[in-house]
């Protein structure tokens, strides 16, 4: 039974696209057949983060409008044979996506894949509502920061009211994914704690991705972080999150501060 999962946040720049790529790759690395779909019409970036930017011929809107077949628009990942990308259009016409058109494509993708990951655009406009419209599950990407938490709360409200599941009286299964977590700042009380965020959003935790150079390095070279450096802390956190999505129970790892050499030599304690 295929699962449609939307990666959303409300706020921009929190790590939706990075997380879609990393979770999609992690699920594919675990043997699942996965497609990642870019819903950010006009500002597509999933192709770039996945390293497929030079292979885009057709896109989501071409398929919605019947210009191309789904099979023509899907791009197979060069590293993982069970990972595919459906890119967004660079067309600026936001209205090119229709609810019926998206519904047809999602149905088609459901029959071909185990997982359909929808990378939502920022905001609460049409693109974002269409990305979540047919979702069974949602990953709400949140930074430990007031504006991000507020927007996540808003998005959770929309997931509970504007999705097909919600309209049928069912629930979209929601998970919070905390990204850009800085353990040092959290320890010093400069950043909202995991407990604070979860209490405020009242939504279960999928994983905690530490702020890391490895994430930027991976997108620089166009490779999901779970593929680019599988041993890195963020890659392991994404891998654990993917296993939780598959229903496994994995002990939550809370990132801890890595002390620098100088601090260790001087015997400093960084709280």
């Amino acid at each position: 039974m295929a699962k449609v999962l939307v990666v959303t946040s409300g706020k921009g720049g929190v790590g939706k696209t990075t997380s879609t790529a990393a979770l999609g790759a992690a699920l594919a690395q675990s043997g699942e057949k996965v497609v990642v779909v870019d819903f950010d019409v006009g500002l597509r970036n999933l192709d770039l983060v996945m390293g497929a930017e030079r292979r885009v011929v057709f896109d989501l809107i071409n398929v919605v409008q019947g210009v191309a077949k789904l099979s023509q628009a899907l791009i197979r990942d060069k590293r993982l044979e069970n990972l595919w990308l459906l890119p967004a259009s660079q067309t600026r016409d936001k209205d090119a996506l229709t609810e019926e058109g998206v519904g047809r494509i999602i149905d088609d993708l459901r029959s071909k894949f185990d997982w359909v990951l929808c990378d939502s655009p920022a905001g609460i406009e049409r693109g974002a509502t269409l990305a979540m419209r047919y979702a069974d599950e949602a990953v709400i990407v949140t930074n430990p920061e007031v504006s991000s938490v507020r927007d996540s709360d808003r998005i959770i409200g929309m997931l509970d009211s504007k999705t097909v599941k919600a309209e049928k009286g069912e629930q979209v299964k929601k998970h919070v994914l905390i990204t850009r977590y800085d353990p040092g700042r959290a320890a010093r009380g400069e950043m909202l704690s995991i407990e604070d965020i979860l209490e405020i959003l009242a939504t279960p935790l999928l994983g905690i991705i530490p702020e890391s150079q490895d994430v930027l390095r991976a997108s620089n070279v166009g490779s999901p972080v779970t593929l680019n450096n599988a041993a890195s802390a963020p890659a392991r956190a994404y891998m654990d999150a993917a296993r939780r999505l598959m229903g496994e129970s994995v002990t939550m790892t809370v990132p801890v501060e890595r002390k620098g050499l100088m601090n260790r030599l001087l015997g400093r304690r960084a709280a």
């Binding site: 007031v146 400069e190 709280a271």
Partner: protein
């Protein structure tokens, strides 16, 4: 303990508890208003309609402020009236 000491020496206090409290107050209100019409907008318009039935108003001299507290919220409507506004009413009447 070590955390408190560190804060003492760095001269800074933790800002996370402030963030947490601000969010809790804000979201309690926002969740309550979700799916409902913009109450502040309605109040503003209806109050102005009542006042302008009797006084000629300059819309730019009307300021509506809302302050949401944990237990009590206030709505402040500040209307600047030109001098002699009451005479104008009399003249019009």
């Amino acid at each position: 303990m070590s955390m408190n000491l560190l804060r003492l020496f760095s001269g800074r206090t933790a800002s996370a508890p402030v963030a947490r409290e601000r969010l809790q107050i804000l979201l309690a209100h926002e969740r309550g208003l979700r799916g409902q019409p913009d109450l502040l907008g309605i109040l503003r318009e209806e109050i102005l309609a009542v006042v302008s039935r009797h006084v000629v108003l300059d819309p730019e001299k009307v300021i509506v402020r809302m302050d949401r507290g944990r237990s009590v919220s206030t709505l402040e409507v500040d209307i600047e009236l030109p001098n002699g506004f009451d005479k104008r009413i009399a003249a019009a009447g």
